[in-house]
Amino acid sequence: MCAKGYLSKNISYLPQDNFIPDQINLSAAIDIFCKKNRDQLMQIKFVSDNLDAKFYNLSGGEARYLECLLMIYSDHEYVLLDEPFSQLSPLWVEDLKTHINHAKIAKGFIITDHYYRSILDVSDRIVLLHNRCNYTINNEDDLILHGYLPGYTA
């Protein structure tokens, strides 16, 4: 058992900010993080079209989208995604949801985000952290009930 989770090399973590250095190109990043799942990533058109692109040549949204994909298809068994749906266009959000639903068959995901509708679409178990408490969430009405969304009247 490792004192720090990342030393186990079993956890991928997508932080809120961009984490892949600008001078690396997408192909090198895939070689580093997704050796086993390279073929699945290559089937995504945006990935195969931008293999030689360095991260400084990509827009913030493009870099974020690619970082999300790299973590979703990373070689590790568990993936922690911190606000993966932020900074993305609606089309890419839908696309990411498809990839998460596809990849979650083989690995565990922990996702934190304020885009609750996207979370509801991809999650098997939802926990609301609010007012220093944990609440189990089954649908949107539970979010209103626990005061995360407006609309609750006692």
Binding site: L7, S12, D17, F19, P21, Q23, A28, I32, M71, S74
Partner: protein
Amino acid sequence: MSINLLKKSILIYKPIFVWNILVSSLTSYFFVIKGFNGPDVYSWALFIKLIGWVFSVGLYVMFYKSTSYFFKNQGISFTRIMVNFVLYDLALFGGILLILFLCQSFT
């Protein structure tokens, strides 16, 4: 010392490697001027090398925030990177010194 980590480190921390090569070259030059016979120059060279390392750590800390998760996602810790940095630098410094002394003995 890992060659794989060396490649990644050079790619990400190029300015730190360039800085270390410059400091090592300067320090080696001082060594070659008087070698081990001149304690004043010898001490000065070691002092420069130590100060060079302090600046290396400073440069690394500047890069750390933007690159820490890149390495953590590969299971590489801050300590391992720093230990490798020092080992690479010692190897480089030793290499430069050796080459300079060999060249000097030809003249």
